[in-house]
């Protein structure tokens, strides 16, 4: 049976991880490769690296990150952050990333999804959506935001997810801006709206504060994977504890 996935997310600035302080047995808690390997050992199914280096300095850091991870990491990993066009994406994939995540670039120029999906395969194109509930008058909708959540697009996140998949996205990485940072749990309604709208895997992100939240978003919103940062970085739970908890709730998990 296909397992549900647990995906720790690492924020990287200038080649260094900016969170992730709990591993006591590693030499350098800022080294993305060393941290990633520690998560692999613990049973992480996949990793996501988000390069949050200031955009004018970024181009090369993201390729270098992909290259270094590919040397030492033997689970699939996704790199996101600041890739603008097909040539940026090609470089990161060629450097060894299994998948790339695009957000602002995809909304600014949706054709990039079609071109990259055709050229590199849908399985390596993840469209990241940062969505926030907005209301205009009576009407409420989830709106995708770009540029790290600073700029609204006026669009509808569910519509956009559907369009992104039609254009060739192989997976949706969905972050609820309302839930992110609250530790109150994933946004079940938003996640369910997206999983019902698309036929590709959806990774739920934003709001994980305890292990029941992971179970909830898989069972109630049909998420294929759960992404979390703080609960793993700060050592609230280990990946293994999370997987055992999910498995005990009847969810198929990879347990070594």
């Amino acid at each position: 049976m296909l397992c549900k996935r647990i995906i720790p997310c690492l924020d990287v600035r200038n080649g260094r991880v900016v969170k992730g302080i709990r591993f006591v047995n590693i030499r350098d808690a800022g080294d993305p490769v060393e941290l990633a390997s520690a998560y692999d050992l613990e049973g992480a199914d996949e990793l996501v690296f988000l390069d949050i280096t200031a955009s004018h300095e970024r181009r090369d850091t993201v390729v270098d990150l992909a290259r270094r991870c590919a040397e030492e990491l033997f689970i699939p990993f996704t790199i996101g952050g600041g890739m603008r066009d097909e040539s940026d994406i090609r470089k990161v994939l060629k450097a060894g990333a299994d998948k790339i995540a695009i957000n602002s670039a995809a909304l600014a120029n949706p054709d990039v999804i079609n071109r990259c999906s055709r050229r590199f395969g849908a399985q390596c194109i993840v469209v990241a959506i940062d969505a926030k509930l907005v209301s205009s008058g009576e009407e409420k909708k989830w709106e995708p935001f770009v540029h790290g959540g600073r700029t609204g697009t006026g669009r509808d996140a569910v519509e956009w997810a559907r369009e992104a998949v039609e254009r060739g996205a192989g997976e949706i990485l969905l972050t609820s801006m309302d839930a992110d940072g609250t530790q109150d749990g994933y946004d079940i309604n938003l996640t369910r709206a997206i999983t019902q709208a698309v036929g590709v895997p959806v990774i739920a992100s934003g709001g994980a504060g305890n292990l029941d939240h992971l179970v909830e978003v898989v069972k109630e919103a049909d998420a294929d994977a759960v992404l979390a940062a703080s609960i793993f970085h700060y050592g609230t739970y280990t990946i293994r504890e999370a997987k055992e908890h999910m498995a005990a709730a009847g969810i198929p998990m990879r347990l070594k």
Binding site: D40, D45, F74, K94
Partner: protein, 198 residues
């Protein structure tokens, strides 16, 4: 020396790094002569079946692979490299494969999401040196839309469930191949590669 065949299909770097990690001496090559000098051959690959066969033929690799396998050299196929070992595929039209094993390649017969992506369990159907140290029911990382349907039941090494039961690994003599990616399957994947390399 293990030679990873480079025929322009997909990222070979992760296969190369994983084999290096388990201590193998590795070269990536498209040169049929280098294939002949290798002790072992890996046929990796991601992408379309028809393009893959065309690229192998263009580079003179079809005859080289067949010759070396017939001479008894160990061959490991991964993902598309598994599919190519069979006689034919219906992927985007009908294509002839290498025909090293009887059988064909078909679209995953399931109403579940395709491609089948993620960690899924293998059920081991026969003994194999390559699976030493791998518990039955272990999970490996898959990314594929097509599956092989072997003509010879005794070639089946593992099966996996995804809306149906499909063949996730085969082995016959010096030929072994996996639908999943050992190079992306953490420590158990590396165990398979170490078994192949030693």
């Amino acid at each position: 020396m293990i030679v990873i065949i480079d025929y322009g299909m997909g990222n070979l770097r992760s296969v190369e790094k994983a084999l290096e990690k388990v201590g193998a001496e590795v070269a990536v090559s498209r040169d049929p002569d280098e294939l002949r000098r290798a002790d072992r051959i890996v046929l990796p690959g991601v992408g379309a079946f028809g393009d893959a066969m065309a690229n192998l033929e263009k580079r003179g690799l079809v005859e080289a692979i067949k010759g070396e396998v017939a001479a008894g050299k160990p061959l490991l196929g991964i993902c598309l490299g598994l599919d190519l070992l069979f006689e034919e595929s219906d992927e985007h039209g009908r294509h002839q494969g290498l025909g090293l094993l009887p059988g064909r390649v078909e679209l995953l017969p399931t109403n579940l999401k395709i491609p089948h992506i993620g960690w899924n369990q293998i059920n081991i159907r026969k003994e194999s040196r390559l699976l030493a140290g791998i518990p039955d029911g272990s999970a490996f990382y898959f990314v594929h839309s097509y599956v092989v349907v072997p003509g010879e039941e005794s070639d089946i090494l593992c099966e996996t469930e995804y809306g149906c039961t499909f063949v996730s690994a085969v082995e016959r003599g010096n030929i072994a191949a996996f639908q999943f990616h050992p190079e992306k399957s953490s420590s158990l994947g590396l165990t398979i590669l170490r078994n192949f390399a030693s």
